[in-house]
Structures are given as structure tokens and as C-alpha cells.
Symmetry: C2
Subunit: 448 residues, 2 copies
């Protein structure tokens, strides 16, 4: 249903604004946890201040999200281990995670709760770690966002709908804090979209006018609480411009679809084979057990591995149409679609200039058996010799174990991997793989 | 049989130095023609001076060559048509040819004779045409070459043996006059070879130290009789460095083979098919009736056509290993050996930056039906669309008639042509074609 901006605004908010009941429930639970922490801290004689941070702290969470981020602040110099112990007791059933410090993650009354020890520093210039910055973010946004909460909700949902929301490294999109700063900076949801239409790589937004450092990322949003930090550092140029073009399309033809995209259906065998046939390209998939690391560690390594394989293919004369990486059900995959995957058995090697007698001698010694040549072309000697790999898939099968693919991946690939070529892809039945392929093959962004 | 330089020198000269009998016969015939011209000129009251030029005029012709170049010199302002008429009468059975002026070519007593009208100018600065320069060359060399004739013969035969002798455009090698100047410049056959070992592109030889013009050719030998002219203008960089490397090899291991290379045998069907199979490449041959022009007109056009087809193949994403042109039995051929001849059915087109709304709109309008996309990559829009030609041979079959291949060739190709792909080459049985392919496939120069 297309419609006027204000109708769409109303309808989206009806769906994503937490109800009064949602809010009351969230407040009850967070208050009870904060009180529990205060009590325990007092009983142990610890100086710990519990602070609710994140979107829950400022009414900018989307209905259906049940995340509570609670920081356990201690004075500088304290032992954060005491706060961690306390967090363990607050949520006896938990798992421990690790960002810059260890923290506790638990599931309580339907809420996902992070309990994160941190230092309470006097001012942001004395930050010890990224974690310590969060309470400053909470304070900065909470004191300014009143009246703009709906605009933040609209922007977050718009970004979700077009697939650019989330600053985890797999996505490389916009963080919640970044959406809040965009709304604070431009004044409304619609203004953010309008301003984004004229963004270019290197765009700088500096609410406090206190930028101190040059950044090389495509979008720079200077952190109001830390002039050296770019809040948009994790945003990729691709996600930035997916947002730019979707904003332009939306303003030209507003529609609810931008906010609520339909789920991607997995490809059937027939569909997958039809695509392989129709594209007449050469798909090569390398599949292996994903190493036991979080996605924020896995995905940057997968992308580095992708680049290493691309360079290998290029070095041997093959040509890539497109590639992608993914993970599903404990496996990781590197997908390469070749537009040139077969080469002649003979290959040419150009030698040194004909007047460089010494170089020439070494070149000829290195190629004692030629298929043609040595002959002169221009002012150089050329030989034609057998090509080592005439098929891209042979090259990968033989050389993948020798590539340096990154800390966790090199070992994971060497431990064992499968290579699927062309129609063999249809042998992989996992639903998440078929969704990964659908996303790859139907790739289409909102551009107009 | 390898051997000492002096043994080889002696043996080569034994084979290529005209005998006393050869010389006597040549002198008899040229004298009788010169006298005939003088007589006829006097009887007609024409002021014509007959001059023997070329290698016959200075004892630097190779045994077995029976060429006489006789120029019919007239004062400036005369009607060269009178000299042409006279030449026709001197050799009643002749054909007429055309370089810068018309001239007469005849076969008399076993000699090929050119009778060329020209102007006798006072000094070379007043040259009317290239033809008028020839008598100056004859005079310059004749007055200096005495005692070095054997060195010229050795150098010519060496160049013949390694395939770099002949300044016609098909060969692009060294002219007879150029070999004489090299010997005059460096002093002996061996010295020419030694000096050539250190030639580089841009080498300049200026016997009279009177160069006036910059030339862009790889070897510049300033004409002693015309400071603006490069005697080596027709020498290709390839032939120059074939000579350089062969010279180096010969000095390292002198051998008679350098002077007398064995003839190239035509390939049998089996050999040709074996090469096609072994190289695992894709041969595409375009064959058509050669236009009725001399080789000096045909070959530059064939090479331009070769370049035009190369550019076409490249533009469509195919990749060439090597190519060649040739002609045999009234036909001309363009040969292309591809190392990439098949591409995916889908192709990528990168559009304008995502922030250039107008360009982007036009780009999307131009690609209404995509196989994937439009999607964002980096800061640009990309579409994937069907590729027009997935096979190099299809591209050539469809587009060759639309190419601009040069004055005589465009029409010749459009009138009709055959395209042979891969093993179909074995369907061409002409011996000269099989020699052309042998030369291509066994390509090997003397390099060490």
C-alpha cells in the first residue's frame, strides 16, 4: 500500500512503538534488576552503580525487542572482577561473554539481559575502554531525545526493512546509537532521509563541532562524547549507499514495503539449477566447518579469505564475476562465481628485454621446455609453456590449503573442506544455504 | 658443423659470392641494356642517362640473385613519360608497375630487370621523390665499399638465414642498402654483429654526423645522402631484436646454420590436429579472397585488420594468446589464437556513483531487464545482464562485416569469407597454409 508520508508514519509506528503495557513491563523488570544489584552491592560493601543504557533507557527500542543493557559502574581503580561476581549472582543462569572485558549474558522473564562491568570515569577524556563510553552515550542521548523517539523508531525500522540496520561486522550497517545521532542531527526521520540523498563518500557529521581526527571511513559521525571516535566506523560504503538510494526511492514513492520487507524464500532444487543454467557462469563453493568463534570474529576473516582467493584466481588468469561469504548451521562458505573459468593449456610468459643478456639467459634457463618460443615480440623474448591450471576449480582444489586465510580459517579449511562446482551446488540441501543462494542470485537493492 | 669464425666465413663466401663467370655475365647483360638505352635516347633526341644502381652496381649481390636495377635519369622538368616509353621499347615483353612513378619490369636472359625513370637532381636536397634518391645511394656506396663487399655478402646471407632480410612491408626487415651502411659504419661483418649485441630501441647510427630530424623508429640509420631520412624506417622492432639476439647467439657459438636455415615443412593433418589439441586453445581463422594489390599494400592492411579484430575481441572480454596474418594462393587470412574464448552468459555492468541521481536514472532506464541487480557495490550501482556474445567465434561471425578493416580489406571480407574454428583448420589443405601454420606453431627465434 503506497500512501502519504504521514499515513505511513502512523502505520509503521502502530506496529513498532512499544505499547504502554510493553513499557510498563520493561520498566518493572529493569527496575527490579537495578534494585537487586544495589542491594547486593550494599550488602557486600561494594561501590557499584547500576545503570540502564541502550535503547531501553531512552524509549527508542522497537516493539518485539526485549534487550536490556545494564552496566555495573565502579570507580576507577576498582576491581571489575567484583562487579562480574555480583552479575553472576544476579543472574544465576547465564553465559559469560567477552568484549573488551568479560560480561554476563542471561535470559530473564523473556528479556535478553547483558550485565556489563565498567569504570565510571569523570569525563570522557579519561575513558579506559570502549565499554566505559556507553554510559556517556546513554546520558547524551537521554537528555536530548525527548520528543524524537518516534523518529528514531521510524529510522530504525526503515533501516531494518532495507537491510542496513545493525553494526555487527557481518552486516556492517548502522548502530542504534548512530540512528539516534542522525535524528538528533537532522531533526526528524524525514529530514535524515532527505539529507542522506546528497551524502557522498567522506560525509562528515559533527554535532558538537569538536572533530579532532581525520577518518578514512565513508561516513564520519563524530562521537559527541569522544571527539576522536567515528560512531559510523563499522558502516561499510555499500550499506551507506544502500541507505542513500533507498532513501531517495522512498521519498519519490513512499511505501510501507520499505519498512517491512518480506522474508527471502529458500531456492528449490529446480530454481537453483535454473539459475546456474541461465547465468552460464561457473560457481565454485568452498564449504568447511566454521571455527567456534562469534560472527564478529568469523565474518571479517571470511572476507579476508574471500580476498585471498580472489587474488589467487586473478594471479592465474581467471576472472571473477561476483563472490560472497556466508555461514549456516555451523558451516562457513566462500562462494565464487566466475565469468572466465577455463583457459588454454598453453600460456605465454613475457621475458626481459632482448638486450639484457644476463636476464635473458636466466629467463631461458627457467624455461628449458617450451611449447612455442622463445621468440621475439617487440623488444622482448617470449615463451609459451604449459599452463599449470586450466580450470579455476582445479586451481582452488590444489592451492586452497596453501593460502593464508586468516587466524581461525586457515586451520579450519585445512582440517577439511568440500568444493562444489556448478550444478553440484544443488547437492546442498540446508535451508539456510538455499536462502543464502537466493539472496545472492536475486540481489536487488532499492535504487531509483 | 660449428667451426671457427674464419672457417665459417670462408665457407659461406664460397656459397654466396658470385663467381667470375657470374660477374662477367651480369656485366655483359647490364652493359648491353645500358648501351641500348643510350642508343635509343640519342636516336630520339632525349636527354636520358642510364645508370646501373643496386647491389649489381657495386658487387654486393648474392650468388643466385639475378636482379638488375637500371634507372633512366632525366634532367629536372623533363617529361618522365618519354623515359617510360623508351623503357617499354628496350624490353618489349614487360609488365608495368608503380611505386612513386610508373616503371617497367621485365625478364631478360634470366635476369629480373627494373627500368625506372627518375630525375637527375644536382644535390640530394632537391630530391623530387624517393626514386630520385637511388642514384645518390649507388654513388655513395660504390665509392666507399671497395674491400668490404665480402662483409656485405656475409651480413646479407646471415640476415637471410635468420629471416630478417628484406625491407618489403611483409617482412619489415633490413634492406640491402641498410646492410651496406652497417658494414661501412662498423667496418666488418663481425663488428656489425658485435655492435648489434648492445643495440637498444632508439639506437642511432649517423655516418655523416648530419642528423636533422628526430625519428621514432627503434633503429635510426641516418641516410648519408639525405639527413632527414631514416634508412631503417621500415625495420620493425621485432626484426631488429631478432637480429640482435641471433647476433649474440652466433658470436657465442658460430655455426653455418645461421646462414642457411632449412626450409619449413608443411604440417600434416595429424600434426596440425595434435598442435590444436595440445595447446588447448581456441583457433579462429578468417579466410577471404585477397584483394588484387601487391604485398606491400596488402600486408600493412592485414596488420591493421588484425589490430581491429584484436580490439573487438578485447572490448567484448575475450583474451588473445597470439595472432598472425598471411596470404597464400590468392587468399588472405587472419589467425587468432584465444586463451579465453568462452564467457559466462551473465555479465556485469557498473553504473554511476549512487549519489548521482540523474546519471543513475539514465543507467537504470538503459537496463530495464536484469538477471541480477541493480545492487550497490561500493558506492556504485551495478546490474547483471545477458552477455551479447559468449563465444569469441560468434562475436567474429556477427561483427566482422561491420568492422573497418582498411581500404581494400573491408570490401574483400564483406564480399565473402570463411571462418574456421579449432580443428576445422585441418580442412584447409593448401601447402602454403600448412607452412604458415608450421611457422606460427613452431615459432622459435635464435635467442640465447
Amino acid at each position: 500500500l503506497p500512501g502519504s508520508l504521514s499515513e505511513i508514519r502512523t502505520e509503521v509506528l502502530r506496529q513498532v512503538r512499544p505499547t504502554a503495557q510493553d513499557r510498563a513491563r520493561q520498566e518493572d523488570i529493569s527496575r527490579s534488576i537495578l534494585e537487586r544489584i544495589d542491594l547486593l552491592a550494599r550488602s557486600r560493601g561494594l561501590c557499584i552503580r547500576a545503570i540502564l543504557v541502550g535503547s531501553a533507557s531512552r524509549g527508542t527500542w522497537l516493539a518485539g525487542d526485549h534487550d536490556l543493557d545494564i552496566f555495573l559502574g565502579m570507580p576507577e581503580g576498582s576491581n571489575l572482577g567484583d562487579a562480574l561476581d555480583l552479575a553472576r549472582e544476579v543472574a544465576p543462569e547465564h553465559e559469560e561473554k567477552y568484549a573488551e572485558h568479560a560480561y554476563v549474558h542471561a535470559f530473564v522473564d523473556g528479556f535478553e539481559i547483558d550485565l556489563v562491568p565498567c569504570y565510571l570515569v569523570e569525563d570522557a577524556s579519561r575513558l579506559m575502554s570502549a565499554v566505559d563510553r556507553t554510559p556517556f552515550h546513554a546520558k547524551y542521548v537521554a537528555s536530548r531525545i525527548a520528543g524524537l523517539e518516534d523518529d528514531v523508531l521510524l529510522l530504525k525500522q526503515f533501516m531494518k526493512g532495507i537491510g542496513v540496520y545493525g553494526s555487527e561486522l557481518k552486516t556492517g550497517g548502522f548502530s542504534g546509537y548512530l540512528t539516534e545521532l542522525l535524528v538528533l542531527s537532522y531533526g526528524s526521520f524525514e529530514e535524515v532521509l532527505m539529507k542522506a540523498c546528497s551524502w557522498r563518500p567522506g560525509e562528515i557529521i559533527d554535532l558538537e563541532g569538536h572533530a579532532r581526527v581525520r577518518h578514512k571511513e565513508p561516513l564520519v559521525v563524530v562521537d559527541p562524547v569522544d571527539p576522536r571516535r567515528n560512531v559510523a566506523a563499522a558502516l561499510t560504503i555499500k550499506k551507506m549507499f544502500q541507505f542513500v538510494t533507498a532513501s531517495r526511492c522512498f521519498l519519490l514513492g513512499p511505501h510501507l514495503d520499505f519498512f517491512f520487507s518480506s522474508a527471502i524464500e529458500p531456492l528449490s532444487d529446480e530454481e537453483l539449477l535454473m539459475y546456474v543454467q541461465e547465468r552460464g557462469s561457473n560457481f565454485i563453493l568452498i564449504e568447511f566447518q566454521a571455527p567456534d568463534v562469534v560472527e564478529d570474529v568469523l565474518f571479517p576473516q571470511l572476507r579476508k579469505a574471500e580476498d585471498a582467493v580472489k587474488a589467487l584466481l586473478d594471479r592465474y588468469g581467471f576472472s571473477l564475476l561476483r563472490s560472497d561469504v556466508g555461514s549456516y548451521g555451523g558451516k562457513a562458505v566462500l562462494l565464487f562465481e566466475m565469468d572466465v573459468w577455463q583457459l588454454s593449456k598453453v600460456s605465454r610468459h613475457s621475458g626481459p628485454p632482448a638486450w639484457e643478456a644476463e636476464h635473458l639467459g636466466r629467463f631461458l634457463e627457467a624455461h628449458p621446455h617450451t611449447m612455442s618460443g622463445p621468440y621475439i615480440e617487440g623488444d622482448r623474448a617470449v615463451v609459451e609453456i604449459p599452463r599449470r591450471y586450466t580450470l579455476a576449480s582445479d586451481l582452488l582444489a590444489c592451492e586452497i590449503n596453501g593460502l593464508s586465510l586468516g587466524r581461525h580459517l586457515t586451520g579450519a579449511v585445512r582440517k577439511g573442506h568440500n568444493i562444489y562446482v556448478g550444478k553440484e551446488l544443488a547437492g546442498i540441501k540446508e535451508k539456510d544455504f538455499r536462502i543464502f543462494m537466493a539472496r545472492y542470485l536475486k540481489a536487488r537493492d532499492r535504487i531509483c
